[in-house]
Amino acid sequence: MQLNIWQLLFGFALVGSLVLGLMQRGEWVYLWDFPFFFALTGLLGCLFLSWVAKGLVSPLLDRREDYYDETEKDPDWSTESPAAASPATPNGKEG
């Protein structure tokens, strides 16, 4: 697998943050004094929240965009945005 420079830096930072955690020798009073607690929170918390949102809440509460009988399907930004007032056409000419 070919890694680019950003991925390498990201990997080093991950390892570095764990090493930093190990280097601090303090008393373990609370759960969060465990050296890798925040790495684990990030890891598991992110998975957990994604699952709750996408797996549990989304099937229950997702609706079509025009559910409330409003024209939100294609919101009209023409009063706000010059791009919406003159939308680009596929051949690049302004409409």
């Binding site: 990201f10 930072a13 991950l14 570095g16 943050s17 764990l18 930093l20 955690g21 601090q24 303090g26 609370y30 759960l31 969060w32 890798f36 607690f37 925040f38 790495a39 684990l40 929170t41 990030g42 890891l43 918390g45 992110c46 998975l47 957990f48 929240l49 994604s50 709750v52 949102a53 996408k54 809440v57 989304s58 509460l61 997702d62 609706r63 079509r64 965009e65 559910y67 409330y68 409003e70 024209t71 939100e72 919101p75 009209d76 930004w77 023409s78 009063t79 706000e80 945005s81 010059p82 791009a83 919406a84 007032a85 939308p87 680009a88 056409t89 596929p90 690049g92 302004e94």
Partner: protein, 579 residues
Amino acid sequence: MLQSIPPGLILILGAILIPLVPARARGWVFLLFPALAVAVIAGLEHGEHLGWSFATYQLELLRVDGLSLVFGWVFALATLVAGIYALHNRDTGQQVAALLYAGSTLGATFAGDLFTLIFFWEIMAFASAYLVWARGTKEAYGSAMRYLFVHLFGGSLLLGGALWHIAETGSIAFDAFEGGIAAWLILGGFAVNAAVIPFHAWIADAYPRATVTGTIFMSALTTKLAVYTLARGFAGWDILIWAGCLMAVYGVIYAILCNDIRRVLSYHIVSQLGFMVAAIGIGSTLAIQGAVALAITNILYKGLLFMAAGAVIYSTGESRMSQLGGLYRQLPAVFWIYVVAGLAIASAPFLAGFISKPITIYAAEYAGLLGVVLLLHLVSVGTFLSVGLKVPYFVWFGGEPKKPIKPARVPTNMYVAMWLAVGLNVLLGVWPEPLYNMLPGGAPDYDPYTVASLTKGFQLLLFTALVFFAITSYLKPKQKIQLDTDWFYRTSAQLAWRTTVVPVERFFKWWEDFSWDTTRKIARRGFDPVTWTRTILGRPGPEVGAPGETASTTLRVSMTVMMVFLLATAAGIMLIMVL
């Protein structure tokens, strides 16, 4: 001689004067008023006050203390930055509404009594609703109306509570409340503006529909003023701890789901307000300082997030992530600005969020609320996931837009305002002392930059990012909206129609059809009894008098019919006599 002038009145004066200024200069003149307000606030000193006798009451138009001063500062500064962001906008209505809105917010901030507070509170609701309305679309009109009604409901609770409180205690002073029905009503009024669940849906309904520039004012003012009033009136009320925790989790889960960029940010406001409300509920000096510091820094980075999102919408004319993508080539500067704000809100080290949010968590730890601490850490993960990673990835990278987009140039004044806010975020991140020294009760007993806190911050962000990049396709935004508590009032009109009008209408329609039908049948029989009888007798034939029908057959049939009638009549008479 600028002292003892309520700074809010300067902005309200501006709202009156600004329509007289020619369109070309209006944006610049707009900036004069918040700048003047900043100057006035810089000259205010603790303990300063301005009273005014009105009827039999002594109103307090200006009350300067640690709490009101720090909020006054940030409201005035935010108005100035938002004014720069809106410099290209020449809509007089929006400029007047924005000044009136910011002025009444400052008026409410420095209000020392309940009447003055309510007076400005109501003006805020109308002025800010105009900023939604000014979008000029059908949805924006609906949103603005709902926004106004929700806030008028909150305002009525506040007014009712205040009148009750004054009748009970005889005092109109706005200070900490003790309890009782009056205090609960006032709490309800504040809770509507603080987006406490279930009164939070207006925020995700109205903010994404407001004008690009109007939302910047809205994100800075209404909810943060509510945090201020809660901190003054209800510090240490236990119920706020749990209300805050619920808000923090609820908001962040919706933020992970939403498709519209500004709706993600709006739900995330609910989540951030949760931290502040929980800290106010804890009520210790440190917790209140944490809530205030978080509110102040939140105005800076949330405003910046809305500004960057607004720049994308202005430039592309699209607000939904499912329709956007790959914008990095066209809008790289806006991307980097957004990333700074996204990292700041996720409390990355050396940015404004790092010096404020951990104080609230630390205060919860100090108060022994370990469950709350764990929950807030979890929400911090969701913050970075939804606002810091998902939005920038799916807007600036993550595939191509659905329809070809030709981005318009983002006005220079928007960039100036955004870079100013970036500067403030970095400045406060590396040099928190000016903010800490302004907090009520002096600088907090908290050191943001320790090796341990840096390690925590880096671990949390890096590992959240690791998981995000592993599951990006799972988190891809869908072209959907999510139901929320606004469902109840948005569908209640329809529901009332369906339960009361529709069944009645349906019954009468049935009855009408039935009676018409019956009448028609009877009429048809009466019109031609001969054919009818023949059908009953099972001897259908051509109609009486039809061509081909001879006189003798007609006579025969008529005779038969007559016989049948006579027999039936006789049988009827006999039956009646027997009975």
